[in-house]
Symmetry: C2
Subunit: 339 residues, 2 copies
């Protein structure tokens, strides 16, 4: 593929902490299906990064490498178009991280807003694992190793791209040329999908997520349990649309032109939650049925899935090793070739 070299490189991926859910679908998977058509897209199964805050449960992280790969294939990621690879099987990433760690100060890492926020979320306080503090450096290694021009992120992850570009600039300044490209952030315009309980974020651990592999009954149960408007007691009562998870999901997954009318009707009163939920249920069943079926089909071919991930990791290994070699040579590290 001679044209491949000129297509912009996108790096994205997921921590392998659990299988993916509807939040991932809306937030990232959907756009990856578009991106893979005219970009060189690398999907990193970020098991090493997942270990920085799950050091006590590596078995879960390992198991989910293949689960997430299955999710990718299930939603339509095409291994001919996107490269699926395992982070911890790419030694060049660890080596680049170690080199970059000499170009970032501890206080700079401590000031990273994303890290700061996540330290609070995870309740680490003073017991932050060193790997967690340094994970922005590891991300910079990922981004630059693939020479990614574009990294899809949520708004809260922007400081990570900034940190990566800062390191790239420091290295470039140090070696006197544009060795490492800076990455642009592709900020998702889709807001985060709330959990079915209306809490801020859909997450498996909070038990408020609809996994991509959910059965029809699980989907229906989740929709039934969904948070609407606690003040909307009778059908005839006026209802609130804002903060009503069913409407948020309809916005995200239905998107029909008559949604505006539906919202107006709900606000006026006279539209019951049951009607709404039926509509959402049908919509989610239609979305997830083919994904679930493809997932089940791929799950029956573990050798094929393993081969996809193996081949992707081998391609990524060549590319990342090449970048490492370039960085080592440019910084003037020892080599047996050049002495």
């Amino acid at each position: 593929m001679p044209k491949a070299a000129t297509r912009p490189v996108v790096l994205t991926g997921d921590r392998t902490t659990g299988s993916l859910h509807l939040g991932h679908y809306v937030g990232s998977l959907k756009s990856r299906l578009v991106l893979q058509e005219d970009h060189r897209q690398f999907l990193l199964l970020a098991d090493a990064q997942a270990l920085t805050d799950n050091g006590d449960d590596p078995a879960r992280i390992r198991r989910n490498v293949i689960e997430v790969a299955l999710d990718y294939l299930a939603v339509g990621i095409d291994p001919e178009k996107s490269v699926i690879c395992v982070q911890s099987c790419l030694p060049a990433l660890a080596e680049l991280t170690m080199l970059y760690m000499n170009f970032v100060t501890v206080s700079r890492l401590e000031r990273n807003p994303t890290v700061k926020q996540e330290i609070v979320q995870r309740g680490f306080q003073r017991d932050i694992p060193a790997g967690f503090l340094c994970y922005p450096v590891s991300q910079a290694a990922d981004i630059t190793a693939f020479k990614a021009g574009l990294v899809p992120v949520g708004e809260d992850q922007l400081p990570m791209i900034e940190q990566s570009n800062e390191i790239a600039r420091r290295i470039n300044r140090h070696v006197g040329r544009e060795l490492l490209p800076e990455a642009g952030a592709l900020v998702s315009c889709v807001g985060r999908l709330p959990g079915i309980d209306g809490r801020s974020k859909m997450s498996k651990s909070a038990g408020n997520a609809i996994p991509l592999s959910a059965t029809p009954a699980e989907i229906s149960a989740a929709v039934q349990a969904m948070f609407t408007d606690p003040g909307h007691l009778r059908v005839s009562d006026p209802g609130r649309v804002e903060g009503n998870v069913v409407f948020t999901y309809l916005d995200a997954f239905d998107g029909s032109p008559d949604l505006a009318d539906l919202k107006a009707h709900y606000r006026r009163g006279g539209l019951g939650d049951t009607v709404l939920k039926k509509r959402l249920d049908a919509c989610l069943q239609a979305l997830l049925a083919p994904i679930r079926e493809r997932r089940a089909a791929f799950a029956k071919q573990p050798d094929f899935v393993m081969d996809v991930v193996r081949a992707g990791t081998a391609r990524a290994a060549v590319l990342t090793q090449q970048t490492l070699d370039e960085v080592r040579a440019a910084l003037g590290l020892f080599s047996f070739g050049g002495g």
Copy 2:
């Protein structure tokens, strides 16, 4: 060599910040000559660690990889008995470091007395490179990757061994068996050799060192410039032995039984610095002449030296990769082999 496997493993080495001097000879090289006779000794040319506080000058670090290897060969390190290898050419060390960083907290690293002291010495204050803060983790990776049972250290480096053993214990506890041996510290009983100016430490950067490659004229000039007793103005004056660098060096390098008499004579008065310095000069010339000659001879065979280092690094690569594979498997990381 079936016996090799039962010989205790020693890991030692040097940051490749400059070629070695008499301080290294007394402090470590001499004992390595003994250790290599009945240990499996690995000498790590620690260029990656040197970069943690010399990130701005990688060219110097690179150059000195071969300079230090030359010093090793010059003093009599036998590549048939000791393995000389380059740290930055062993990817397993970077990968182990990354894994271990999840088992050490930032505050634990900040409490490390050696790191604390070195932060002050290097004037880093708040601008500590992340790589520098984490270098005890990198040392733990070195020590455990070679499964070293014995690590020769100065007393000020004891916290490093402690940190390494702490990580080994955490990993062992985590995996439920003695995967990584704890290392014993072989504390040098020789005090640090002062610089010729009487300052605490001989170092190339302080300009108070006698390099192993010093010419006869350089040795003599260094001995001439050596700090003695500033109060010892006339030969007949009583002189101080304590803090008198010439005596410190005679203790370290001469060691004849009549040194005690010489000291007594100096203390009484009547013994001139010139006599002392002549004696030390002769002693150092005799010590350094064969080292300098062997060094010059090896320097004329750069291919041989490169081959020694290449072969040593290849051996070390096999060993360290094996440990990495064991750690990954024991922690349950993803692998294409076992799934």
